[in-house]
């Protein structure tokens, strides 16, 4: 459970990084007062001309993002603006927008939702006609025309963020500094800086979520092992009596139970690691827009958590077994 959820967290962040990097922009500008990660605040698109006037700015693309429930969102773009910044979307099937309620989806969504050009996708309580399928890896999974999305949500003339492409990437920091001096309220970041923010610590509630999952993992591990070992000790009362009759000390009996528990925890951890490959396959097959990565650096951590939880759970049953009266234990049927 821990490895899968950490893998999904890291996978989603890696996917966000890939798609952000795929835009090909040098600078990201967000609305004043907005968080680095988040799409809750918009600002007027007329600022695009302000950004465009900055020296060495080659192209500017305004993007409006509308959350669509869960981890899904719909991204409104001006296809020409976006092409100027990103080099254009690569159509695998179909083509650009033709009607207001046209949508372009990437190959990931096309596979996940089994869609082709001409198909319909219901998002934001609207039926969108899929006009094209593009290669994934640029900004979003679903694009619609920015003015249409602005109109639908009364965000006319508003954008969530702007991507700026320079004629010379080495001028990024200078341009960021220049823009910041003129637009003091705007979060303005180089794309590299933005990508560095895409970590577990910067996604709201992700770190607490992982901690909660780990705590639950330890608690569940503790309870399962405690109950299993407690039951095992009761069921093996006679065996404990036999060991005592053979001269086994309390430490020997506790040692056997703890070694057994440690082996089970290690076996369980190996099974858990193998199961993350299974969940990865399931996610890739049935929900490819989610991403799970295999996290080998978490294997020793998860194994350690499993062993500690299991040992805590086995300690009391082990001590109880060690304290059993040998005669009563031998009489147990």
């Amino acid at each position: 459970m821990i490895l899968t959820l950490v893998g999904i967290s890291q996978g989603m962040l890696a996917d966000m990084q890939t798609r952000a990097r795929g835009i090909g922009a040098d600078i990201l500008i967000k609305a004043p007062g907005s968080s680095i990660i988040g799409f809750s605040t918009n600002f007027p698109e007329k600022f695009l001309t302000v950004f465009q006037r900055e020296p060495h700015v080659k192209a500017v693309a305004g993007v409006l993002v509308q959350p669509a429930g869960g981890i899904d969102s719909v991204t409104g773009i001006d296809l020409k603006e976006f092409s100027d910044v990103s080099g254009g979307l690569t159509f695998v099937e179909g083509g650009p927008f033709q009607q207001p309620l046209d949508a372009i989806i990437d190959t990931v969504w096309a596979k996940q939702k089994n869609l082709k050009p001409g198909g319909t996708i219901n998002m934001l309580n609207r039926d969108w006609r899929v006009c094209g399928v593009v290669a994934s890896g640029k900004l979003a999974h679903m694009f619609v025309q920015r003015p249409v999305l602005q109109d639908l949500f009364a965000n006319n003339g508003k954008i969530t963020m702007a991507y700026v492409k320079l004629d010379d990437s080495s001028r990024t920091q200078a341009t960021v500094a220049s823009l910041k001096s003129k637009l003091t309220d705007f979060p303005i970041l180089s794309m590299e800086e933005f990508l560095s923010y895409l970590t577990v610590d910067n996604v709201p509630m992700l770190r607490p979520f992982i901690l909660v999952v780990i705590t639950l993992g330890v608690l569940i591990g503790f309870l399962v092992v405690f109950l299993s070992m407690y039951t095992a000790v009761l069921e093996r009362t006679r065996e404990v009596g036999i060991l005592k009759a053979l001269g086994a000390s309390p430490a020997y009996i506790v040692g056997i139970l703890l070694r057994e528990t440690a082996l089970l925890a290690i076996a369980g951890s190996i099974t858990g690691i193998l199961m993350t490959y299974g969940t990865k396959w399931i996610i890739e097959t049935f929900a490819p827009s989610m991403n799970q990565v295999i996290v080998p650096d978490w294997w020793p951590i998860a194994t350690g958590i499993a062993i500690v939880g299991a040992m805590l759970g086995a300690t009391y049953p082990g001590l109880k077994a060690a304290k059993q009266d040998a005669i009563e234990a031998l009489a147990y049927d």
Binding site: R238, A245, G247
Partner: protein, 230 residues
Amino acid sequence: MTSPSANQPIIETHDLRKIFRVGDVEVSALRGVSMSVARGEFVAISGPSGSGKSTLFNILGGLTPPTSGSIDINGRDLLAMSDSDRTNLRKATVGFVFQKYNLLPTLSAADNIAIARNIAGKNGPPDAEFQDVLKLLGIASRLHHKPRALSGGEQQRVAIARAIVNHPAILLADEPTGNLDSQNSEAVLHLLQDLNQRLGQTILMITHNPEAAAFAHRTIRMRDGRVVED
């Protein structure tokens, strides 16, 4: 601790008493048992149910302490022993054979024997003398089987092998033929007799069966927690 001399009795009890408390009621299981067993002797203890045989067995094996009296096992005062000392007594000085065999069901016969050696801190292969004992017991070819795949007689022979693998000074057998048919009973009793005669193994066997008791050098009869005939 003084080292036991060859002439000194290996077991000697005097006025041994054991009182169990059941709620507010005190039950006297042993009411002053005095007895002596010489080194290399094969002694049967017989008596009806409730005569105190099993309590005496448990005390001699260090499974429970007596309430009063004196008891020397292989030159050591058992009354003065701590729990840890009695654990060591079971590990090194006394071997047990039970009526219900009491083999660990998840281990093979060989592993049941090996775990007794492991508990005693011996992890290498058993000595050559023990290999002869295995031949004597007739279980050499059955050692890799789990207890469930062995007959009652075979299980009891494995239990005997486990009890003597660490060369205990005393072998305590509690109704060793109680769960066996007459043919297997006789085989097991002959084995105990062989172990006593060939290896000089001191054996104390609890039985209520006069035919089994006849295999011993002498029989101590008990009734109501006392020795009534020796």
